[in-house]
């Protein structure tokens, strides 16, 4: 999963880190990065879905 985080597009990685590590709200994440709050949520959703796929693939692999 760590490798998958590092492989995320830069903006997705920034949003993910600010949300789950720094604990910022989506409004604060958007203000920090200078983007719209909806845009920050979309980046976060793409990142979460990508990481969930990685987790799912890892759990079904032997």
């Amino acid at each position: 999963v760590k490798a998958a985080v590092l492989a995320l597009p830069r903006r997705q990685r920034e949003v993910l880190t600010l949300r789950i590590d720094a604990g910022l709200s989506f409004a604060e994440v958007a203000r920090t990065l200078g983007i719209a709050e909806g845009n920050a949520r979309v980046h976060f959703h793409h990142a979460a879905r990508r990481l969930a796929e990685v987790v799912r693939a890892g759990e079904v692999e032997p």
């Binding site: 999963v1 590590d21 979460a48 990481l51 969930a52």
Partner: protein
Amino acid sequence: MSPACEAFEPLLVDRAAGAIDPVDRARLERHLDGCPACRAEAHDVERALSLAALPPLPDEERDAVARAGREALLRHRSGRRRLAGGLVLAIAASAAFALAVPWYLFSRHAAPPPQEASDGVAWELPDLEAVWAATDLSDADGPTGPSDVLFAELQEVDLDPQ
């Protein structure tokens, strides 16, 4: 995933991120109760985010971060106190200057020194000897003054009774 489940997918991520609206949460929970596929999806998203999060800071690092924050705050406050003290001094100095200048100008121009006459000519002590010499004291007591009366009385005194 059915179209109904796709509509709930963003809410699964919001719930895992702890950023879901209470109304949406209630709606999602009702859906999850009857949808094993979405429950599995929710589990994967939550697990992925928990694995992606950085490990918590050790106690020493957390203390160091908190200490650095407090010290930065103290430096900021002391800087503001110094700035406020300087501001008070500057205002006091300005007020003193504003009062001193009119007072100085008024005392210099409004009240002339006592030695100086109103026409601006300096007063000097007169030559008292010359004034005394020019004064006629012969009739200071007048023609009927006390000295004349006394002299007349003395002339009438007979000093030789014989």
